[in-house]
Symmetry: C2
Subunit: 138 residues, 2 copies
DNA sequence: GACAATAATGCACTTCCGTTGCATAGGTCA
DNA sequence: TGACCTATGCAACGGAAGTGCATTATTGTC
C-alpha cells in the first residue's frame, strides 16, 4: 500500500483513501475495467468520484483508456515508465467473445503501417476479438 | 439508380425509395457516415427508419459498421463481393484529427498478428488516427 | 381489382453511459 | 485558527443506441 501511495505521489496525484483503493482494485484484476465494474465493486462510492478518479489517473498516466469496440470505456494500469502516447508503447488489446473480458497484450506492440501519400498517423488502436486463453479450454 | 436497385435486390433487401436514397448518399460520400449524418441529410425522415435501414444494410452485407473510437457508430459501403467477417476483407480505418472524418483504406488489410498460446482471433479492428490526405496540405 | 399477408415506416418512449454544475467536506499551509 | 485549494457527493443533463406498437405501404393470391 505504501508502494501505491508512492506511485500516485510520483505522478502528481494525491493519495486519498478512495484513490488507493481504486488503484489496488485495478492492480489485482489483470483485465481492463469499466466504470460500471468499479461502481459495482465499490457499492458505497459515488459514481462521479470514481469517474473523476479514472480521468485523473488517465491524465497523470497512471492508467490508459481502452476502446475495445463494445462502446464501453475501459481502463488498465500503465506499465511503469510507459507513455501511452508514444508509438512504442501502443500495444494491442484482446476482447474475448466468450467471457467478455478485455486484456492488455503489452508485449504485442502495434506493427508499423505504411499509409498512402498524405496520411500522417499520430495514434493507433488495434483490438483483436476471439477466444482468450482462459476460455479456449487450456 | 437502376444499379442500386439491383444491388439491393441481389442482397435480399427490398428497394424502397428511402433505401435507394440512403444507398445513393453513402455512395456519393467517400467517407464513413454516422446515423446523425444521415439524419441531418434527410431532415424529413424518421431517425428510426434510418437506423433500421442501416442495420438491415449491415445484416445483408451492403455496408459494414466502423468503430473508429469516437463512440459513434459509422457505416460505409462494402466493396462488391466483400464478406466483412473474413480476415481477408478486414481493412484498416483512418480517423482524421483535423476534419474528423473517417475513411476506409480498403487496400490496407490488417496484418496477421501472432498471439500468445491459447488466444484465438476471430475478428480484428485497426484504427489509425492522425491527419488525412486532404488536411495534410497536399 | 379486392383481399389478406407481410414488410416498412413513424412516433413515443426507454436505457445506458458519459459528462457537467454546484454545493459541501476534507486536507494543507501560513 | 483561518484562508485556500482539492476531493467528494448529489443532482441533473445530453447524446446515441435501441424497443414496442400502431399505421401505412407493398406484395402475392384469388
Ligand atoms: Mn492496454
Ligand atoms: Mn471500411
Ligand atoms: Zn475469455
Ligand atoms: Zn482530415
Amino acid at each position: 500500500m505504501k508502494k501505491i501511495e508512492q506511485r500516485l505521489t510520483e505522478n502528481g496525484v494525491r493519495p486519498t483513501a478512495m484513490r488507493l483503493l481504486i488503484y489496488k482494485y485495478l492492480a489485482e484484476k489483470e483485465v481492463a475495467i469499466s466504470l460500471t465494474d468499479i461502481e459495482a465493486a465499490f457499492a458505497k462510492a459515488e459514481r462521479t468520484t470514481l469517474y473523476r478518479t479514472l480521468r485523473t489517473f488517465e491524465e497523470k498516466k497512471i492508467v490508459h483508456q481502452i476502446d475495445d469496440g463494445t462502446g464501453i470505456q475501459k481502463y488498465a494500469l500503465c506499465e511503469p515508465g510507459c507513455d501511452c502516447n508514444l508509438e512504442q508503447d501502443l500495444h494491442l488489446h484482446f476482447l474475448c467473445n466468450n467471457c467478455d473480458e478485455t486484456v492488455c497484450l503489452t508485449e504485442h506492440k502495434i506493427p508499423h503501417i505504411n499509409l498512402p501519400e498524405g496520411f500522417v498517423a499520430e495514434d493507433a488502436n488495434l483490438v483483436l476479438k476471439g477466444i482468450c486463453d482462459k476460455c479456449s479450454g487450456q
